[in-house]
Each structure stands twice: as C-alpha cells, then as structure tokens.
Symmetry: C2
C-alpha cells in the first residue's frame, strides 16, 4: 500500500509542478484519481482563478470516481475563495479514499477538510511524501506561516566568489546555458529584485523565459538613469523602493510606481519593503544582486533559498567585487547555512542550491 | 584486443597510484604481466631507489613471463639511474608483447626503449589509456617538460569565496572530513607552502596523514614568530624563502634553512623560488594560503592544479578575506580556467578540483 501511495503521490507532485510560477498566491496542487492501480483521471491547478486540481480531475473522472482513490499533494480547500470548496466536490464524487501529502497550513483549512472527509466515511491517509510536498510549496508555506514573501537569492560567480574582475568586468562569468537556466528560474517567482547599482551598471531587462515578472529596484538615493531599459519599456511592472523624503517623484519618470519606506541604518528597510510587497500581492522575490544588496538580505536573515551558479574560473584579486558583500557574519557559527543542498553541472558551470537553515 | 588492453592497462594505472607521494622525483609506474587473459604477476614502483615496477613484476613471474604480455603505464627506462635499465630486463624475460600507455618524456628514454624492444622482435602497442597515464604522472610530466615543480593550490572557503568572516575568524570553515582529505592530499606532494601571514595567524603543522613533507614559508619581511610550531618541531624540514638582504639569519632560529631570492615587485619572486626548489629536489609544491600568497601564484600563472573545498555556508561581507587575493585578473577572458573539472560531495562540503588551462 505504502509503495503504491508513494508512486501515485509522486505523480500528483509532478503534476503540481506544472503550475509553477503561475498560481501565486495559490499553492501548487496536483491530483491523481486511481482505480484498480490505474490512473483514471488527473489534474493540476493551472493558474490563480482557474479550477483547483481536485476539481479538474474529478470532472474528468465523472461517474468513474465512485470507489476510487484520490491522491493530492495538499489538503483540499474547505472555504469559498475564488472557487467553491473542493472538499464538498470530493464528498459528492463517491471517492472512497483520499491520500494527502500534507495539511493545508491555511487557518481556514488546516485539517478541517480532512475531518469533513472522515465524517463522510471517506478514508484519509495523511503524510505520504510530506517532505517533497512541503518543498514544492515552499513559497506558499512561508507565505501562510509568516505573512511574508519567500525570498530566493541568485548569484553568478567565479570559483573564488567574485562577481567582477579587479577592473570591474562582469560580463559574462557563466555560460549561456547557466544564464538561460537563471532566466527560467525567474519564471518561478513573482518579482525580481536588484539594487540601484545593478540597474546603473547592467541596465538589465529582468524578464523570465515565459513571464514578465514584477521588477523591483531598491535605491535609497534615487540616483537612477531615467533612460534605463526598465523605465522605458516596463514602467508599469517596475516598483521602486526608496526612503521617505520630499520631492521623490521629481527624480523619476511619471509612470513609475515609487514606494517610500522607513530607513534601517540609513538604507531602505528590507523587512518593511518585503512586508509592503506582501500586501501588494507579491508572494515571492528573486534577488539577483548586486554584492551589497545580496549582502544586506543575508545579513538580515531574509533569504529562504539560494542559487549559486559557479564558473570554474579563478579571478583572484583582493579588490575584485565579492558575490555577497555588505557586513557579513562575524563568527563562523553564525554563517548562513544551506540545507537540502543540491549540486548539478550546467554545461561547464556548477549550480549549487539549497534552502537557508533557520 | 583493445578492450582487453584497456582493462589490463587500467589495472597497471591503479597499481601505479599505490606509490603516490613516495616515488618523487621518479614517476608512478605500475606493471601487470598477463598470459591467457590472466594476470600472472604485478608490481609497482614503491619508492625512489627501490626496484621499478616492471622488474618487480618480472621477478614474480619468473620463467612464466615467456610468451606473456606486459602492461605498463610508462615506457620502461633505457638508462642507468639508481637502478639498471628496465628495457633490458624485459628483453631477457621472454615477454612477447609490451603494451605501453605513454612514452617516457625524459630525453634519456623518449622512445629509445620502444625501439629497442621492437629491434628485439617484441611487439609494442603504444597509447592505450594515454590520457589517464599522463594524468597519473602529471607531476613527472611537468617536471621533465619545464624543469620546474608542479604546483597545486588548495583552498577551504565559504560558498561565497571567503576564508575569514568579517571579524577574521577562519576556524573551521569546512568539516573534519574535508580537513582530513586535505591532509591526505598533502601526502601526494613533496612540499607544503604557506605565506608568512598564515604562519603567524594559524601556527600550522603542515603535515600529511602518512608523511612529513617539506614545509616552505614565504616571507619578505621575516617578521615570523620564533616560537612557531614548525620552527620548534620541524626546523630540519622547514625552508624559508625571503628577499636578499643583510642580517637575515639574526631574525630566525639557527637550524632553519633560509634561502634569499631576488625580488619581483618587492616580494619574493615565486618563479625564482620554485626554480630553486626544483634544484633542491622538490618536484611538487602544495600551496595552502593565505589569500595573498595564493593570489600571487595565480596572478603569475604558476598553478597547475587547484582544489577548492567549499562549505555550503554564506559568510558575506565586503571586508571578509577572499580566498584568492592579490591583484587578480583584469578581464574575464584572462581568468584562470579549470579543466578536467571534478566535483564530489565530502560530507556536507563540496570539493571542486581540476587542472589549470594553459
């Protein structure tokens, strides 16, 4: 039974992943309906506002759902949101057993649907592939738990941790293949964030492969180039976070959305900024640099996940820019540790990624 | 035939590796004698001054060598060195065929033994597993080609390329397992080299797991702690390289061997130092730091191989010490590239190593 359950739950998780980057603020959910060891219907949540995974699968199964088992990586919803509660649809369907990877942490659900299923004589198995299910919805779990965006950091560096040579050259450190994958990663997050220095120096586009994410610039001084690519082409999806102060608007093109945030050590408070972004519906932020901006995110313990693209090249140089700057930790035991570490060769480069230990 | 040859040559190479760290200035050689698809005798070169691999194997085989095939990863020697020429022993043995991975680059040999074997009606096949055979003797090939020591660099750093925190803490970045492996690597080289700053700060022992290698300190100023562990315990195997200047000896304990070298940009010329070391019989140097010393080796293109032990931790900090300091490259296209790149997880850490591209 357990082996079978794992097999079909992994299918549900694979389906859930198909919605990656598109369901925010909703979680990623996949559902598989199984009868006599065969998948008879499947579904996943495609986009916020569209049908939930269970409903998609149940609709496909129709009358065949009677007596079948439903595998779903997250507890079905109990509440009216943009769509009616899934739990009722499951009860009505004649499904005999529901296998759930993990409880929905949302206080509006959190076990209520499981109880309702059981009250309706449906057998419920909870906890199959729980770890993978939590990982696939790491953004959602963070959002619900902390009412705060999930923060991922991305770095492209030399083997010795530099992002520029001693003369400041930074293009390109990693190969095309790594840079394409880095752009694809952008598709998984609601917003891409860079510091003012990166905007000035690189004039980036900050787009994904299949998505135009929000673009966030952090700038205490607002000393930004008015003719930057983002301001000219993506003013409506670009947010600037700066300090409270007068005449802020005069310094920038009209269309740009500017948010004034209280200072933390004379810089824009990153925590306050992230709280504001959460209110605005930005559930996840992909921080791409530069050195000082990334350093401040790490210094303040705000990073949930980090991707290091490492080129097998040594730059050397005591004055070459380090990938993670700002203050840094004082003691090794306070360093920011990556767990669930993964390593992959990306062409000639190495990608190391993991979650930050809390 | 080719598949068989590869199979037995790989055995010879594995045998050769057993001498690692012990044969200097001789190459690593393994020999396998095969008859009817079976290994009838094997041998490897254990230590400089002891018998060569072929002779060990032939002695074991005795009369059975007649008609057999000898596999050896390097061309047998042609000249009288510490032992008589192996090629003559092979001819006398009755061996019918010799499979050699790579020619001995030494001008005293370089094909002469192959010719002699052929003149004696012994069939010779050359080039099987050539790449692996050159890799296993990378030190020897470098020595013969350039009359210069082979230089390997070792770094233990955070994921973001730091070797200290912002407060200068450096112990320990990597795990016990990594540090043990790093000590084992020392066994493969004749000498371990550190800069004066590392001696002052870390007071290191610089020993291997099974070997007391030569210990080399580079110090332009000779401002060294007289009661350092090395001076007290290993004065006879410690060399100090400093600049030419008067009264050098007064600054150090009597027993210490001091070499005065011409300056290069006011620092000890590393090239001249390495040339001197070669004259002294030091065929390979393992450079362990610190930041500035490693940076200078890279800046001057002196590194043949590099080992990066990377802890999955972020230190951050613009003032935290970088693993590879000094000047650094100006342009990315001039960066020092690692080829034959290998990646391995060492417990929680990551080891990345490779050869420097020329």
């Amino acid at each position: 039974m357990r082996k079978k359950d794992i097999y079909f739950m992994q299918k549900a998780i694979e389906l859930a992943k198909k919605g990656q980057g598109k369901t925010s603020p909703n979680p990623l959910v996949g559902a598989v309906i199984v009868k006599d060891n065969k998948v008879i219907a499947k579904g996943f949540h495609k986009r916020c506002g569209l049908a939930h995974a269970e409903v998609v699968a149940l609709k496909k199964a129709g009358a065949k759902a009677k007596g079948a088992t439903l595998y779903v990586n997250l507890e079905p919803c109990f509440h009216f949101g943009r769509t009616p509660p899934c739990v009722d649809k499951v009860v009505e369907s004649g499904i005999k057993r529901v296998v759930i990877a993990v409880k929905d942490p949302n206080p509006q659900v959190k076990g209520k649907s499981i109880n309702k299923l059981r009250r309706n004589k449906i057998k419920v198995s909870l906890g199959i592939c729980k770890k993978e299910a939590k990982a696939v919805n790491e953004v959602f779990f963070k959002n619900i738990k902390d009412k705060f965006p999930f923060v991922a950091a991305k770095v492209a560096q030399s083997l010795d941790g530099k992002i520029t040579t001693s003369l400041g050259q930074s293009k390109w450190i990693t190969t095309d293949k790594s840079r394409y994958l880095a752009r694809k990663l952008r598709d998984n997050y609601d917003a891409i964030l860079v510091g003012a220095e990166t905007l000035r120096k690189d004039n980036p586009k900050l787009n994904g492969v299949e998505k135009i994410p929000y673009k966030i610039i952090v700038s205490s001084s607002l000393d930004l180039p008015k003719n930057s690519y983002l301001f000219k082409n993506f003013a409506d999806s670009t947010f600037i976070f700066t300090l409270k102060g007068p005449k802020v608007k005069d310094k920038l093109p009209d269309k740009i959305k500017v948010f004034q945030i209280k200072a933390n050590k004379r810089e824009v408070s990153l925590k306050k900024m992230l709280r504001k972004l959460y209110q605005l519906g930005v559930m996840s932020v992909f921080v791409e640099g530069g050195s000082d901006t990334l350093g401040r995110f790490f210094d303040q313990g705000l990073v949930d996940k980090a991707y290091f693209f490492i080129a097998p090249k040594v730059f050397g140089g005591k004055n070459s820019l380090t990938s993670i700057g700002a203050g840094g930790v004082k003691q090794i035991k306070k360093s920011h540790r990556l767990i669930n570490l993964k390593i992959r060769k990306i062409g000639a480069d190495i990608l190391v990624w993991g979650n930050l230990k809390r």
